[in-house]
Symmetry: C2
Amino acid sequence: MHTAGDVRVEDRDDPKIIEPTDAVVKLTATCICGSDLWPYRGIEPADHTLMGHEYVGVVEEVGSAVKTVKPGDFVVGSFVISDNTCEICRAGFQSKCVHAEFVHAGIGTQAEKARIPLADGTLVATPGQPDPELIPALLAASDVLGTGWYAAVAAEAGPGKTVAVVGDGAVGLMAVLAAEQLGAERIIAMSRHPERQKLARYYGATDIVEERGEEGVAKIKELTNGLGAHSVIEAVGTQESFMQAVGATRGGGHLGYVGVNYDVTVPGIELFFAGIHTLGGPAPVRRFLPELIQLIWDRRIDPGKVFDLTLPLEQAPEGYKAMDERRATKVLLTL
Amino acid sequence: MHTAGDVRVEDRDDPKIIEPTDAVVKLTATCICGSDLWPYRGIEPADHTLMGHEYVGVVEEVGSAVKTVKPGDFVVGSFVISDNTCEICRAGFQSKCVHAEFVHAGIGTQAEKARIPLADGTLVATPGQPDPELIPALLAASDVLGTGWYAAVAAEAGPGKTVAVVGDGAVGLMAVLAAEQLGAERIIAMSRHPERQKLARYYGATDIVEERGEEGVAKIKELTNGLGAHSVIEAVGTQESFMQAVGATRGGGHLGYVGVNYDVTVPGIELFFAGIHTLGGPAPVRRFLPELIQLIWDRRIDPGKVFDLTLPLEQAPEGYKAMDERRATKVLLTL
């Protein structure tokens, strides 16, 4: 991205092994993330920035210290590099690993190949070479599915719980899928977009709420005996959506927030009197990858449906445009 | 409190049973809370406001529907009225009960007697008539101990955990006691007040950190291998202390916050990238009362030491002054 709004596909040198813990992956598919729109819209800086942090592909070469993946393996990687051995990783928070690096900062997987540091701690090999039809689903696991899953876990979605999902983008839809898999009793998708409502229902939403802000909160309370939802997932990242999520959570309930909330300021006293659990931030996707890959492999979940536009990598600029204009929820780029 | 800074002890009519679920309690002791300083300092409005929400005493009379306490019982009550039967109460969040009312709003236990609504859900009887020496400890259970305990539970203090406590007031000190009881491995008290440091060590603090703000965060990281504490307790409620607590929590760690944070605004993005669990608000003291009373009864904990000034109720104005000027940590009022 040369600057905001200006994405170009250009030749770069092939990545090479630098550290013995590196792997070079020949990518099979990649995609454009909602968070890539931050620099595209000028909210984050962009200056000849390498783009992309979601990826699946075949390992081409590994450094001498890499043990768990080998050339020829098909792999899914997290959007955060992690060693998966430090105390923070072992506690399940690989996105806060002591060696954490964001893939989008300096690697850029909207590319033919990528050098992935700390390959053992970041990549997970699939049980074999996947059928082509599984590629979108495996790619989704790299971020949107992993992030939506984390949000649902953070919100403690599970049996007997009513879960409200604020946000009908790819992550919100994946959170609906996750809540359903985790056994939630009732899943309320907050959406006013007919196509996304349909997909939310496909993934397990039992109710749709179109209202937003205070009206949205009132509607969630109306549906939950005046109490609010047990579990609320925030997958947007605006002031309105964040406070809507806080307001929709019952006292003692759990809010999982994964929308990158640059412009949000939370009034301490509102959070205080809400009396709720919160957990959020960049998802430790690596924690969930083995389980998510298996669910996909066994065809028990189908997260690939969130991609509603597929383009060859060379047409990435059109993909950004389509997402920016909300003509597409999520764009898959083929290689 | 006639107005900010103007506390008077005046005659009022004796409270009477109004609802069949009420009890009238003849108070044995009451106290002044750090949060009573909010209106005293003009941060909350005060206009002939009844004051006080901490209380122990002997039940004088009960309504026809009250089953678990009877005249003559010695009782400890929570500072929030709760039915202890609704869905929220059953989940352990009695301070968010569907019938929650703050005792300070309309009852006022800095008094000789108080009418306590929903007596079964709010009061807990002690195993018998307490020795006078246990009165301060039982009174502490009504709020500061219960609140500090909740903060420690919210921060998931426990075996193997390093716990940092921001705030050396009565609640912070009680959080140290609670962390110790919950089995924390290491307890870092953040305090620059020699007397309070001494009390923190008495209650189980293993380390003292005098630095504040970013320096305080750096010091906590230095003591925890660069990671931050597993569990952090915020018991002040200022912008600096809140952000200090966020910064001192390791990725994936737990922040329990109980300082009433009127002027705090939390930058969403800092909370986002911190990647931490948070839980806070008015403590559901009722959840912990049976356990805390038993610990006190068995003389396994001695929370009464937080009271460092005892005055007769008539001298309440002097008690407010002493706390406002930080000459006293917490003032017990005798009857």
